[in-house]
């Protein structure tokens, strides 16, 4: 299943109706707006190579000690690291925790600071740089920097996502799609885009400020989250996602970093840079989507004809991660390792059960390990403590995309049976926390095994 760089590059060019078939001349594929140099250095899976030459930005963030550390990037996400968070990250990251892989194709090195001016005014107070005060940096992604800010228009704290414009190619396609799609989406579980400031040197999106994200929340509460909170987070994720899917929008980059969590526990989908509106039937899309750990097996095997099922696999991974406290399928290196991680748990797929499998471009059965499916509750023991969680996870983590549950169906799963019935009829823009009885529970304290053992012995003595 190892894919050489060149075949991968050729696969990238697959396109739909009206597309051309021309021969490769340069060997490099140029993604719009990103320098050839940069793309040429990508690993086949789209991650940054290990030589450390590309992630200077992250080193600064993580303390500058880069020797032997696996590739790491702050990714495209709106990682909301405040000063304190950054020092925490420094401590956490220096140790064994495996690095989170980054989103695909969001690489840019241009970080020159140039003079800003407002190109267009009009009479509206919106769209103007002066209306916002830029405060601390919250996080630095590969194509954007996120600042905490203050809006003089609405008198509230906001998050300013500053996208550096390409010297040549103007507004990056990711920014164009993100802005256009987010403007269509007004939902309590999707981050609100308040304003857009477009100047010569930068494009700034003004978002509502949300104080953390699920990735940080999981790091802060190791060992898995409170069962009730898992339920609430997942329900909100599905709510936001079915709203997107009903509007023919695929997120294509679901992962804990892109799920913002407010102080009271509201979950908001963010980072629509890889999202796109799909037509029905779908185009052929790039299969270089979704961060490796959350990428479904059909797409890992080269399918470009995915649809809403793409996002649903990610939901399954996130459910397991919230319960277990560790990533569900933390592949290292490349696509084949990622597939191996998945098949070790879910079993190697059988073409008799999943007939379309054999038609997938990168399906090479001889290169896949043969594993029998295991029960999720055996692999992630904490899952057994939560009623029906395993059943829902199985519905979401079906290897064959057509059998994966849709967001609407998943919301009706009996795993959510004990949530207030009122939740299913909430208006789009109402938060689930407006329903009486719905609240965030304090997270359980997990002790190290040695501590638990000692407690056990003490109990026996008495």
């Amino acid at each position: 299943m190892s894919i050489s760089k060149s075949t991968d590059a050729v696969d990238l060019g697959t396109r739909a109706e009206g597309g051309g078939c021309e021969s490769s001349e340069t060997g490099h594929r140029r993604s719009n707006g990103y320098s050839e140099e940069c793309l040429g250095r990508l690993e086949p899976n789209g991650n940054i190579p290990k030589d450390g030459s590309l992630h200077r930005g992250w080193e600064r963030l993580a303390g500058g000690d880069s020797v032997g550390r696996p590739p790491m990037s702050a990714s495209s996400d709106s990682r909301l690291l405040d000063e304190q968070g950054r020092s925490e990250a420094r401590v956490v990251l220096r140790h064994k925790r495996p690095p989170r892989p980054k989103s695909e194709c969001l690489l840019s090195q241009d970080s020159r600071v140039s003079k800003r001016y407002s190109a267009f005014g009009g009479d509206s107070p919106f769209g103007r740089q002066e209306a916002y005060i830029k405060q601390d940096m919250l996080g630095e992604g590969s194509y954007a920097t996120v600042y905490k800010g203050y809006s003089n228009l609405t008198q509230q704290t906001v998050a300013l996502k500053e996208i550096r414009l390409q010297e040549e190619e103007g507004a990056p396609f990711t920014a164009i799609r993100e802005a256009s799609l987010l403007k269509e989406l007004k939902h309590a579980n999707i981050v609100i885009l308040h304003d857009i400031i477009h100047t010569r040197s930068a494009l700034t999106f003004v978002f509502e400020y949300v104080h953390t994200d699920l990735s940080q929340y999981l790091e802060k509460h190791p060992g898995g989250l409170h069962g009730r909170n898992v339920q609430l987070f997942l329900y909100q994720l599905l709510r936001g996602l079915s709203y997107c899917h009903e509007r023919r929008i695929l997120h294509r980059d679901l992962k804990p970093q892109n799920l913002l969590i407010s102080q009271i526990g509201e979950l908001k989908l963010a980072d629509f840079g890889l999202a796109r509106a799909k037509s029905v039937p779908s185009h052929t899309y790039s299969h270089e989507v979704v961060t490796l750990w959350y990428r479904p097996p059909d797409v890992l095997l080269g399918s470009t004809e995915y649809t809403t099922s793409l996002d649903m696999w990610g939901v399954g991974c996130i459910l397991v991660e919230m319960i277990a406290g560790v990533p569900c399928f933390p592949g290292v290196r490349d696509v084949s390792d990622q597939l191996d991680k998945i098949f070790r748990v879910m079993g190697t797929p059988d073409p008799r059960v999943w007939p379309a499998l054999t038609a997938l471009p990168n399906y090479k059965p001889e290169r896949l390990g043969r594993y029998r499916a295991r029960r999720l509750a055996d692999v992630f023991p904490r899952m057994a403590e939560m009623p029906h969680a395993e059943s829902l996870a199985n519905r979401l983590l079906h290897l064959a995309p057509e059998r994966r549950a849709a967001a609407d169906a998943a919301r009706r799963h009996r795993y959510f049976g004990d949530l207030p019935a009122l939740l299913s009829s909430l208006p789009d823009t109402a938060s689930v926390f407006t329903v009486p009885g719905v609240r965030l529970h304090p997270e359980p304290k997990h002790f190290a095994p040695a501590v638990l053992k000692m407690a056990e012995q003490l109990r026996k003595k008495h």
């Binding site: 396109r15 993604s31 256009s180 823009t429």
Partner: protein, 399 residues
């Protein structure tokens, strides 16, 4: 205008430029082995004409038939109507109006086939969401409408618009872009010219090219680079001017690029009508012809898509074709009598295109020439397009 629109004609100049262009850009390095998507292959499960022994058009088992009175879409809309009033901005799908319309059509049609019922196994067709999606697209097309005679305050005329779009069709073909990109380009141009009346004829070509650049970024996996567009326009403006224009357009459109395209509706209609490849391609030809026609620019895209298919079915009638069925009326949202005026206009466009095809020196004939190729099934030179159906409808338009 013809001076303003300085272009490399698609003759020797472009061909000369092509090699240098391809050497530079990602377009050229596309894979050689990618199969072209079959025009109709994925639209539905019951597309006829793909295999010979397909049987009668509506070979649906009785249990596959189900009344649509409480289809998922309608019921979810009802739910939304009953929801407490919300601020205007987030009002879903202009629900009330849609609901009325749906009822108006479905009340007389209790036995319309549910064309999605057999698709639950095919995730490409997202049968769970399809009805919601199309209601949403109807809402979006109204939200971002182009008004009738939208160039009335502008220095741009309908004729200039026609010249521009004709040229863009050629650029689109040259760059081998997706069909969606062409429709989105025209939609961006129209919506921009509607709000910005300061654009002069000299700037028009740059507006067009920049619109295509933005559309490519939105739709394509690999958009052409800015320099490709500058070169194809014979360097009558530079890259920095295009970047400024990009900001101007995006800010005028407030980054709203999600307006649905006629193609989205045509695919749905083609599925509902179980049409064959030729009928679908002819409808596409008619829609593309209409892109240049200023008097049709304000039309709802769903209306255009329905009229194009309806006319196509009339022209390419065979014993299997039942014309504009109840199913088509239901899924396209339009009964045939509402489509007739548009069909007449489309027919007169075809008559005009036929004349131009016979005249080797004719101008603005890019669409018809494109659809005369084998790849487009030689659809624009079909003898049926000179037949009585077209001439009669065109005559009706003249009256």
């Amino acid at each position: 205008m013809s001076q303003a629109l300085r272009t490399t004609t698609l003759g020797s100049n472009v061909i000369r430029n092509e090699n240098q262009l391809q050497a530079r850009k990602g377009l050229a390095t596309r894979s050689t082995n990618n199969a072209q998507r079959a025009v109709l292959g994925e639209i539905g499960n019951r597309v006829k004409g793909l295999s010979v022994n397909n049987g009668p058009v509506k070979a649906i088992s009785a249990d596959a038939r189900k009344p649509l009175v409480r289809s998922k879409a309608t019921s979810s809309i009802r739910q939304k109507v009953e929801a407490p009033p919300k601020p205007v901005e987030s009002k879903p799908f202009s629900a009330l109006e849609e609901n009325k319309k749906l009822n108006a059509y479905s009340s007389g049609l209790l036995n319309v086939d549910d064309i999605d019922v057999e698709d639950s196994d095919n995730p490409q067709l997202v049968s769970e969401y399809i009805k919601d999606i199309y209601l949403y697209l109807r809402y979006m097309e109204d939200k971002f409408r182009v008004s009738e005679n939208h160039l009335r305050d502008s220095k741009i005329t309908g004729k200039m618009r026609e010249i521009l779009i004709d040229w863009l069709v050629q650029v689109h073909l040259k760059f081998k872009l997706l069909h969606e990109t062409l429709y989105l380009t025209v939609a961006i141009i129209d919506r921009f010219l509607q709000v910005d009346s300061s654009i002069s004829p000299a700037q028009l070509q740059m507006v067009g090219v920049t619109a295509m650049w933005i559309a490519s970024k939105y739709e394509e996996i690999y958009a052409p680079e800015v320099n490709d567009f500058v070169v194809i326009a014979d360097k009558s403006f530079d890259e920095e001017q295009m970047r400024v224009m990009e900001r101007q357009i995006l800010s005028a459109l407030r980054f709203d690029l999600g307006r649905p395209l006629p193609l989205h509706f045509l695919r749905r209609n083609s599925k509902a009508g179980c049409v064959d490849n030729r009928q679908h391609t002819l409808a596409k030809y008619l829609m593309e012809l209409s892109l240049q026609e200023y008097s049709l620019a304000h039309l709802r895209v769903s209306h255009l898509a329905a009229a194009a298919l309806c006319l196509s079915l009339k022209v390419l009638q065979d014993e299997e074709t039942e014309g504009w069925t109840d199913v088509l009326t239901h899924y396209s949202f339009y009964p045939e009598n509402e489509l007739r005026p548009v069909m007449c206009q489309l027919a007169s466009l075809v008559v005009k295109a036929n004349e131009k095809l016979n005249d080797s020196r004719a101008k603005r004939v890019a669409v018809a020439r494109k659809y005369a190729t084998k790849k487009c099934l030689c659809i624009s030179v079909l003898p049926e397009l000179s037949g009585p159906v077209i001439t009669e409808l065109a005559a009706e338009a003249a009256v």
